[in-house]
Symmetry: C2
């Protein structure tokens, strides 16, 4: 309560009574079960707020209100909870979003894993046209806003106690400012999707299914940092399947693609390298085709099961 100050929360009623400036909203939810709770580049609290803020941003919406629900395992030190809640409050402030309602449950030792957090968010839709899979058109350019795989590799390496020469930090970050900037500059954004569980392969595979079109991707254009590439080789992962928490793909018409890339570049720290990685084809088999350097094409599949470790 002291961390999440807001008027609706202060009333301490069964729910928050709030006003929205417009009736067109986006509504999204995610549960966060990441282990460990703290990882290089973030913690479950920052991840939880960024995760829902990003889901709303992907709908062309600015987040306005959040709810948070905690499932705490008996024995979680109160300072650990304090650190996480403080990180949530800071991340919410940075994203100009209020935490207005919440819930706390405690389960017995052995019935949880320290802490699980569920967040739901309401956002105001500000995009002029509909941003979603159904707006994807043949000819659209597919842009990714930076190098992929940092989050998943950083968490897995940290969990397994692996030590690489170059430390890999999670890409966990809010995408709100980038998305706002794209929309404010009248980029005709057809669709956006953040690369969380299942990474680039899952996002593209699902969007191809949902839009009804094939996508053509060039493997060599996908930005991947050297440390992530090496770690993936050692750990046996394909980087396209590895989760990110601050990366998204954006579908824009050819005419806007260079300007969109330029805008995304202004948000990238050195080496993040946003890139055009492919385009939407007019064929309708709903396949994601990926071509390597020598031109050989294969199908990029949506990863399932064991390929989706608990990293969010």
């Amino acid at each position: 309560m002291p961390h999440f100050q807001s008027d609706p929360l202060d009333e301490r009623h069964d729910g928050a009574k709030i006003s929205l400036p417009s009736s067109k909203i986006a509504f999204s939810t995610d549960s966060f079960v990441i282990n460990p709770l703290f990882f290089p580049g973030g913690d479950i609290g920052k991840l939880a707020i960024c995760g829902v803020v990003n889901d709303l941003a992907m709908c062309g919406a600015l987040p306005t209100y959040l709810s948070v629900a905690f499932i705490i395992e008996e024995g979680l030190p109160i300072e650990t909870l304090g650190k996480i809640v403080s990180s949530m409050a800071a991340t919410a402030r940075e994203n100009h979003v209020q935490i207005v309602t919440g819930d706390t449950k405690v389960v017995e030792k052995g019935k949880g894993d320290g802490l699980y957090i569920s967040v739901a968010g309401i956002g105001q839709i500000v995009s002029k046209s509909d941003v979603g899979p159904k707006s994807i058109n043949p000819g659209d350019v597919i842009i990714v806003n930076g190098d992929i795989g940092r989050h998943g590799i950083s968490v897995l390496a940290f969990r397994e106690g692996m030590d690489f020469e170059t430390s890999i930090e999670s890409d966990c970050a809010s995408l709100l400012e980038q998305v706002k900037c794209l929309l404010e500059n009248n980029i005709e954004v057809h669709c956006m999707r953040d690369l969380t569980r299942g990474g680039l392969a899952a996002a593209l595979g699902e969007l191809s299914q949902q839009s009804g079109f094939n996508f053509e991707i060039s493997e060599e254009l996908i930005p991947i940092s050297e440390p992530v590439k090496s770690a993936c080789e050692i750990m046996g992962f394909d980087p396209v399947n590895v989760a990110c928490e601050g990366r998204f793909v954006c579908f824009v018409p050819e005419k806007d693609s260079s300007k969109a890339l330029e805008i995304m570049s202004t948000f990238s720290s050195t080496g993040f390298n946003p890139a055009k990685i492919g385009k939407v084809d007019s064929q309708t088999q709903k396949l994601v085709k990926i071509a390597n350097k020598i031109g050989t094409q294969r199908i990029m599949e949506i990863p399932y099961g064991e390929l989706l470790p608990r990293i969010c």
Copy 2:
């Protein structure tokens, strides 16, 4: 997905894009960690939907959209999940509320307890005046809509394998229709609160704190069924601390109290006995005073810790 059919969900985007008929909304969330998942009179799915629908109703709002997030422990049989999800869908339909967005996470065996569900809900505020703790006035009559303690006792008895002569069923139910009926009949509802964790004592204790006034309660007016009374004696519980999931207290001015009671009675099955149990005093020590049959007064305390078992 097949159970929760709705257009926004069908789009399968990162969030649901929805429209609200008005800008005054209520927003609430709860996590449900009840053990066992099925209990006499309900299951975790029905409980989760009713819980959030009731929280919104307590704000004077009609629920319009829900989000659901599942944390599933590895090994939960898919039929069990199916039964619960089907119960959620049915309860949502009964309450005219759409499930528009969601999330599913799986945690390793031993890191959960079968299934945890987090639900968040958006509702349209329909009450003309503000319904909340700050609207409580001295002189308000306090009404409870039925006999207390069924949910907690039913779950605890079932969990402990206790067998009573008369079986006790949970009171788990939606309060939406009752609340709608009170508001449509122009009952001047000042505040409502459902009697979940901590039961009547927690609800009254918190509302007394939040409103700033003392409450005067008559113990003999509190409706408690004989089976619940006996079970409480055997198990060592005070019924006023036991959770309900279909009971609420309602604060109305004297002039509307009989009509409110009459309306609540139409929603009660035989023996539920809604009742006026006390009134708001003008004194401001923020105490809930409870008088027994022979007139002795004691303070009703908000229960903590061990008195709050995992029954929701």
